[in-house]
Symmetry: C2
Subunit: 293 residues, 2 copies
């Protein structure tokens, strides 16, 4: 399996360690990054370096892209020198970026015309999950193509789920972001009521987190809010990008999402106050501003 | 310890099994219930039956009340023939109803005038928790009085937390209800986006529940919503009662709670459509109504 050649495009905070795991697992790897200096570490570990996405794709059995946003994905795949120009018939492109399901469905059509396949496979678990290879990976697309690349996904993540046809991985990721952000707003509101009534926040959290009120957000971000720790695990600016994708998918399917829309608007206050690069738990500051003049 | 005499007032779906556990643990028990027929089972097991809350309180070292709503608590404690008429100096009243923190603080003052103490100790865990003695109990009031009655609370619950001065148990319970209801709305919105995009709901839940999107509500009520099971674990009408207490406490402390307010309004649609006696997960039906004409 490990003599499948992999082209890897996008060596940011996520892509860099993910590509490293593939090298460690013995896959021949050709990497591309818009800022070339980020390829150096992997080149020193044995990766080849390409000058364009097309070049990274042309000898690959499997191409992986993980870039920041919808225009970046369109650029590295459809743009001049993009993956579509180089990818072979029979190859599989795995897009691990978080982008709109609609974009993936359109790209899926373009790849089929080349005889290739697209798997949309966004991740959750953040940079820690990328470094420790404990990501959750949510995949959509042709199921046979998914099964062919599953061993590669297993090198980078711990929980790999096939979710359905093209776009289903992205849709699952958007459901994840709805839950993450609305659960966080619940935590912020509970802590706001507590603190304004002089209830010790940690005692409150410990009293209730084992029951029906429990959540990952309460257990992990509640104590950070209680101690005014707003360092980023996941930045507000990135969450807002994802919530715009949620709004787009919700709009396209006529799905009213009142609480998700509310949290998206409240995060806009974080951005207005210059807090977009803080962790999502800085949403607590918005409620504090609402509550004291 | 178990020769402390307990007066127990309120033998509803919660109080009945809780009083039974105290009898089983060997505490001499005098019970009172507004509808006398509900005392029969406990009388057959050895409990004495009182004709009024006052009579249930007059020989008791510890009095426990667990009734439905704020007016009921006021009635059994302050009303004619109420606990205040009978309670002894040095006794402890434990109010396990869910009512407003402000009411508990006022009653605390009245009991102090009698030389008695009040512990507010609402519970979570529902009728299943009451039957299995696995309730979470959140207590407020004088800490020495709390320590004296802790062994009694341990007979009825599994997680007993002292939260602070009078009203702190109720406030903690209200924080619990904020988290429970807003987390549930997050689950309903994620499932709504999934189903309107033909994403299999159980696959989505399984793909994400182990990560940052995870919650008790997702794991326990998500599958019920996915299979159209709206039987009550906890009824919408009761949640609305609790959310009114949240709104009252939030108003008294000038604490804006936008998402909690939103879920309270959406549950009003459940009530408008005659779904108030269904489980809280029937909130999903409100989103379905919003999404299809």
């Amino acid at each position: 399996m490990s003599n499948q050649h992999i082209g890897f495009i996008g060596l940011g905070i996520m892509g860099q360690p993910m590509a490293g795991h593939l090298l460690d697992a013995g896959y021949p790897l050709t990497v591309y990054n818009r800022t070339p200096s980020k390829t150096e570490d992997l080149a020193n570990q044995g990766a080849s370096v390409a000058d364009s996405p097309s070049q990274a794709a042309c000898q690959a059995d499997v191409v992986i892209t993980i870039v920041s946003d919808t225009p970046d994905v369109a650029q590295v795949i459809e743009g001049p020198g993009g993956v579509l120009e180089g990818i072979s018939s029979g190859a599989v492109l795995i897009d691990m970026s978080t982008v709109s399901p609609a974009l993936e469905q359109r790209l899926d059509g373009l790849l089929r015309q080349k005889g290739a396949s697209l798997i949309d496979a966004p991740v959750s678990g953040g940079d820690v999950g990328a470094r420790n290879a404990t990501l959750a990976i949510m995949a959509g697309g042709d199921q046979k193509a998914f099964e062919r690349v599953r061993p590669i996904l297993e090198v980078m993540g711990r929980s790999i789920t096939y979710c359905g046809p093209s776009g289903s991985g992205q849709l699952t990721k958007l459901c994840n972001q709805i839950l993450v952000s609305v659960n966080l707003l619940a935590v912020c509101e509970a802590l706001s009521l507590a603190s304004r009534n002089k209830l010790d926040p940690m005692t409150m959290i410990e009293a209730i987190q084992g029951g029906a009120a429990g959540s990952w957000q309460l257990a992990n971000l509640g104590p950070k809010i209680a101690s005014d720790d707003f360092d980023p695990g996941f930045m507000i600016d990135l969450m807002q990008k994802d919530l715009r994708l949620v709004a787009e998918a919700a709009g396209a399917s006529n799905t009213p999402l009142p609480a998700t829309s509310l949290v998206h608007q409240l995060f806009q206050s974080s951005q207005a106050w210059g807090e977009g690069r803080e962790g999502t738990q800085a949403l607590a500051k918005v409620l504090r501003r609402l509550a004291s003049g």
